[in-house]
């Protein structure tokens, strides 16, 4: 059964969209990431115009992250002060990102930029995750492997504006989370991702936050950044398809429920290796598409976008 998407101006099978929402929701339930980094490229694969895919994914993230934050908040795993600092940077970053998006769209380079960003980010991330999980699997077989130092001091601790983040048990410069938020905000606008897959490792390895408060805090800031991106994209580029978002969210709700239950039954390292391979596959497909000679050398863009 086809459904006509009023902003994307294409008809797509409603069950494909529900299935896509469910699959991404399932993954976010299993792995605890937003899933935007898979949703946007998949939407583009099935024929949604890239600009609409990016903006509507951001809209879908608002809902998906809120339900995630509420779950973490009930367990007390959200550092609101840290979230606020990330948010400050995030809001500035998303304004900058939407501005950049509009500019690139006018230059005719937005689709290329979206693809390149995905190839670079997914490629790097998938590679790092694959190495990490292979090591973890190996470490289990060889007991007594090397341990990481508990606390490291480097240039980051020399920055001004030192602030105490109680819930994260950290005393670091507020500029660090603000800068991190800024970068993720820009990416969120250009790629339609919440940036959870970047934020989470950065919060653990760069800021040194305790693992249990990371997902909730990251999701908290993603809600606001994604909401800001949605609003700005709707206002400046008119690319948010509310019908598409709604269908994806409905599928996502069911997917996330199953995903969460399934996730508790699987072993962490194998799970991460699986995710890493999936991310690498998406990156490889996008990279391949960039380098092969396109079936047609000409592309048409109308002014309405």
């Amino acid at each position: 059964m086809d459904i006509y998407l009023p902003i994307a101006e294409v008809s797509l099978d409603v069950f494909v969209l529900l299935g896509l929402g469910a699959a991404v929701g399932f993954l976010s339930g299993v792995f605890g990431v937003g899933g935007g980094f898979l949703l946007t490229p998949l939407l583009i694969f099935i024929g949604v115009p890239p600009a609409v895919a990016v903006a509507s994914s951001a809209n879908q993230l608002v809902g998906a992250s809120l339900s995630g934050v509420l779950a973490h908040w009930r367990r007390g795993n959200v550092d609101f002060k840290m979230g606020f600092a990330l948010l400050l940077g995030g809001l500035a970053g998303s304004v900058l990102g939407v501005w950049l998006f509009t500019w690139l769209k006018r230059q005719g380079q937005i689709e290329l930029t979206i693809s390149i960003c995905y190839v670079l980010l997914l490629g790097t991330l998938g590679f790092l995750m694959a190495i990490e999980s292979v090591r973890a699997v190996l470490r289990q077989r060889v007991p007594g492997g090397a341990r990481r130092k508990l606390h490291q001091h480097n240039w980051m601790h020399g920055l001004p504006l030192k602030t105490r983040f109680r819930r994260s048990k950290l005393y670091i410069s507020a500029l660090l989370p603000i800068g991190l938020g800024l970068g993720v905000g820009v990416l969120s606008a250009i790629m339609g991702v919440g940036g959870g897959f970047l934020l989470v490792p950065a919060m653990i390895y760069t800021l040194g936050m305790p693992t249990q408060v990371v997902p909730g805090t990251s999701l908290l800031q993603i809600i606001f950044v994604a909401a800001n991106v949605t609003f700005l994209q709707a206002y400046t580029n008119r690319t948010v398809d509310a019908v598409l978002t709604l269908v994806l969210l409905v599928g996502g709700v069911f997917g996330a429920q199953f995903g969460t239950r399934f996730g508790t039954k699987l072993r962490g390292e194998q799970l991460r290796l699986l995710l890493a391979l999936m991310v690498l596959a998406v990156a490889a497909k996008l990279a391949y598409d960039l380098t092969i000679r396109p079936p047609s050398l000409f592309v048409i863009s109308t002014e309405q976008g």
Binding site: I7, G68, T302
Partner: protein, 250 residues
């Protein structure tokens, strides 16, 4: 002349009784559409409209369906550092968003190049105007690419569709519109062709419009962009909150 007109009027009255209605009057050819509105609803997968009419005397019929004109930029991809990027572009200012031809016999058999160019019959006669500074050679090359791309996505017909004559005078044709048909006010031109020249013609409008909830969403998103953005965010928040309810007890 007078006799022709009274004949056309009589035919018009006949068609009106037969259920056509609303057709304009012309000497030599009278035609109308089965519907003047293509409604794009949630389940829209394309539509077709029947064009029907009658001629006075012998002759062939050529019909053209033309969507509203708009500006189009054509990009040519080039390989830069191993990847394909949009390199060159030419902007055209008067491109119809949809263009299809229906004819009772192959075009080159029934009409001379002169009148075909004059009435812009056939994609070769669209007279696309390059807006940005482009050499005539570039304009031709990019214009041809634009037509080829639109033929690929179904917005320009690659081959004319068939107009069938029922007896000597009555004709009908089915004009198909794909799922991605652009919205707007279309113009359907019907030409009576005799001795390789256009001897009579008639135009009739056709509106392609989103209706129902889709129309309202898209209309609202354009006119009240800020409110639409706010509602999109709120809607997602409510959906997210509802989604978290089943987990509350866990």
């Amino acid at each position: 002349m007078n006799r022709q007109r009274s004949f056309a009027l009589a035919l018009l009255a006949f068609l009106g009784v037969a259920g056509g209605g609303g057709s304009a009057r012309a000497d030599g050819v009278v035609a109308d559409l089965s519907s003047h509105l293509i409604a794009i609803t949630t389940g829209f997968t394309g539509a077709s409209v029947v064009l029907f009419g009658a001629t006075e005397g012998r002759g062939d019929i050529v019909a053209i369906v033309r969507g509203p004109e708009h500006e189009v930029t054509v990009w040519r991809k080039g390989k830069v550092a191993g990847i394909w990027v949009n390199a060159e572009s030419v902007m055209f200012s008067n491109v119809p968003s949809f263009y299809t031809v229906a004819t009772s016999r192959p075009l080159d058999e029934i009409i001379a190049p002169g009148p075909a160019a004059l009435y812009r019959i056939g994609t070769a006669n669209l007279k696309l105007q390059a807006k940005s500074p482009a050499t005539p050679e570039e304009a031709t090359r990019f214009g041809a690419a634009l037509i080829a791309e639109h033929q690929r996505d179904g917005l320009f017909a690659a081959n004319p569709s068939k107009i069938a004559f029922l007896g000597e005078r009555l004709f009908r044709a089915t004009i198909a519109f794909p799922a991605n048909v652009p919205t707007g006010t279309y113009i359907v031109e019907i030409f009576l062709v005799r001795d390789r020249d256009v001897v009579s013609g008639q135009t009739t409008p056709l509106v392609v419009s989103k209706v129902g909830i889709d129309a309202e969403v898209s209309d609202f998103a354009t006119r009240q962009a800020a409110a639409y953005g706010a509602i999109a965010v709120l809607g997602a928040l409510v959906a997210g909150w509802l989604a978290s309810l089943p987990f509350r007890s866990v």
